[in-house]
Symmetry: C2
Subunit: 411 residues, 2 copies
């Protein structure tokens, strides 16, 4: 049986790039669709990945040279429906992996404009994809990246997408109630509701992957070639907890634990992200099925993560301090958290657990590129309250309409 | 104590117009904000209200003549944030009643473009409103119109917004899980999630009114003056069940019951809509509270409604037939339905129950204007399946991208 054809939307991004190469290396006919907006946002916010990433065109040329495999590139925006339709009809995917969304909670909380941009970009792109699949290739499997952050921190166990409810003596199986914590997380909840509808009404096949916080940068295909290297974000907008901590440790910046650090979340290694996608591709949802997987391998509190990085740093001779900074987010800092994640393991996922060796290699990687770190990008500048952070305060009266501002990430 | 200042967004529409006059008549300082897009959609779809409604400017002039009261008009779009901000700062409302959304399920299911238009219009307008209240007048009470259709038809009792969940020995109070049945209903679920977030994070005060299907046209202020008369939609896109049936009965068209007619929903008289809004204005939600009321007074199945109209028609000498037409929607036609609606009654709502006299007056009203009925507008033309209805079928191959089409409501 020939391997499936997979279109990776957002294939120039952190998870998308690693996924596209992973699939291509394993014989899947792979294409990337991307509008490169993430690189544009980096320019707008004056942020930069730790690693110097090549252009998508150079990346793909290099991949062809080293692997002998071609990845087709569709350069454009899924919010442009004619472009999306043409790309789908041209490539004829068996599965579409949809990473192509604005994926930062702080970005969505910068101001009203960024909140609207996030929700419109994500919701409309996803709607276009649903309609394109319905009208052009109804058997195509939609693999959509959601986030564990859709659930928030409920006081009950987090199940995989659905909850069996018993109420006043009657029962139903319902979508798990969500408590998303940012305008970005809300956009993912909107997407999930829209996709669930499409599976009920039009019998599309969809898998919603509620992914945890991804860490790591090295996958089999991206490790050793400067032109294939993946991005690694450490700034306060796009950087994720563990990656940020390792880079902070490498440059001697105290680890920025938000508040008391009791916030517990699901985490996974980027090597498991790419495996989970492959598993989803190989095990498509049924027609009419809205299948939800919680895609993470371990739970940690932010404080625990910081301590683990501190210990791994000590073994390398790094003196790592932990600093509890005022929490820029509005969230519970101590809470119950018990999320299920058995569905992907039942389908064969063998997790990479967070280990000393992973922390060593990630820390070493961070040290290798530490000259590129801009210390101004490390502190969080986006406040959930909508108030300006200290360095951004102006004399504007609170009763006057405030001029929306991007955070001054570089002073 | 002086009465509150209330801004009615969407005040040129069916519920909005009746509400604005009701509040103005009772001494509330009332303003209307509307972009008149509903009149534009009527033109685009070639549909017309049964009643000949005057322009909003003539309506307001007439209201001033007859009542001596002024209603200020802000003509513009809440998707235009500078306009919205200026209007709010100028009028300084104590409460904003937000009717200003695309409110038709069939409209949202016409095609991809209308689905995207519905979700973007509704979600962005609502987001702008949340941000404007946060930044300009955080104590202002947001009264947002949702819909009972957000809940769908779960197999358990429908509570007012929240569900007490017990799961694996632990408990939480969570937003009631939603199963919306159209792109429009989904947009209202997105709004509810966005507003709930704003109350949690920014301590806004919000009331979400999950309104049932509204029927009737006569309120104290709009009954007897041709320039103040309310709109009454009977077409397959904007017409609601009972209003449509009465107009069908008046012109001798068989009542168009979709499928078996077992679909049960909550209904209310438009005279109760305006009272519910007044009650919400007088009893604001607390800061940080996301308060949800189910705004309906009675439950009926569509088949029951048709029989009641048939009987009322018989007493007037009308020979009313009932026709079970193929259901254009994809929905359960027989299901459990038991929705709670005690919160508004606890605050003093005295319901107008559907009665023979109401049906008589609505039927008489329909007969009065029956010369204006365009029979072509009565059948449903929008199919949830996305397929074209019989009269719209073309030779387009299903594997080619289909050109999106508006339903040919007038042939």
């Amino acid at each position: 049986m020939s391997k499936k054809r997979v279109l990776v939307i957002g294939g120039d991004g952190y998870c998308g790039w690693a996924t596209a190469l992973h699939l291509s290396a394993r014989g899947y006919e792979t294409a990337i669709l991307d509008n490169l907006i993430r690189r544009h946002w980096d320019n707008q916010l004056q942020i930069e990945t730790l690693t110097p990433i090549a252009s998508i065109q150079k990346r793909l040329e290099r991949w062809k040279e080293t692997s002998g495999k071609s990845i087709e590139l569709y350069l454009g925006d899924i919010n442009d429906y004619p472009f999306l339709s043409e790309a789908l009809l041209d490539f004829k995917p068996d599965a579409v992996v949809h990473f192509g969304e604005q994926r930062s909670a702080p970005f969505s909380m910068i101001n009203r404009e960024r909140a609207v941009e996030t929700q419109v970009n994500n919701v409309v792109g996803n709607l276009n994809l649903i309609y394109a699949i319905r009208d052009l290739m109804p058997d195509c499997h939609l693999i959509k990246l959601g986030t564990m952050g859709e659930y928030g921190t409920p006081n009950i166990d987090i199940e995989e997408g659905y909850l069996e409810v018993e109420h006043n003596g009657r029962k139903d199986r319902m979508l798990y109630p969500k408590q998303p914590g940012s305008m970005y997380h809300l956009s993912k909840v909107h997407d999930s509701n829209n996709i669930y509808f499409a599976t009920r009404i039009w019998k599309l096949r969809a898998t919603d992957l509620n992914q945890g916080v991804v860490y790591g940068v090295i996958t089999d295909e991206t490790a050793d070639d400067e032109l294939l290297i993946n991005r690694l974000d450490y700034d306060g907008v796009f950087g994720t907890a563990l990656n940020r901590f390792c880079i902070q440790a490498a440059v001697g910046h105290p680890l920025t634990v938000y508040g008391s650090g009791g916030q517990t979340r699901g985490f996974l290694d980027i090597r498991d992200t790419v495996r989970c996608i492959e598993i989803a591709v190989n095990n498509p949802a049924d027609r009419g099925e809205f299948r939800v997987f919680n895609q993470f391998t371990e739970q940690f509190s932010v404080g625990q993560l910081a301590k683990m990085v501190q210990q791994a740093g000590a073994k390398m001779g790094l003196n790592v301090e932990i600093q509890n900074v005022p929490n820029p987010r509005i969230e519970k800092e101590e809470h119950y958290y018990n999320a299920k994640n058995t569905a992907l393991i039942d389908l064969g996922l063998e997790p990479h657990y967070l280990s000393d060796s992973l922390l060593d290699s990630l820390l070493n990687f961070a040290v290798r590129y530490k000259e590129r770190v801009d210390m101004n990008l490390i502190p969080p500048h986006v406040l959930w309250s909508g108030k300006k952070s200290v360095e951004n305060q102006s004399d504007t009266s609170p009763t006057e309409p405030q001029k929306s501002q991007e955070p001054a990430l570089v002073k």
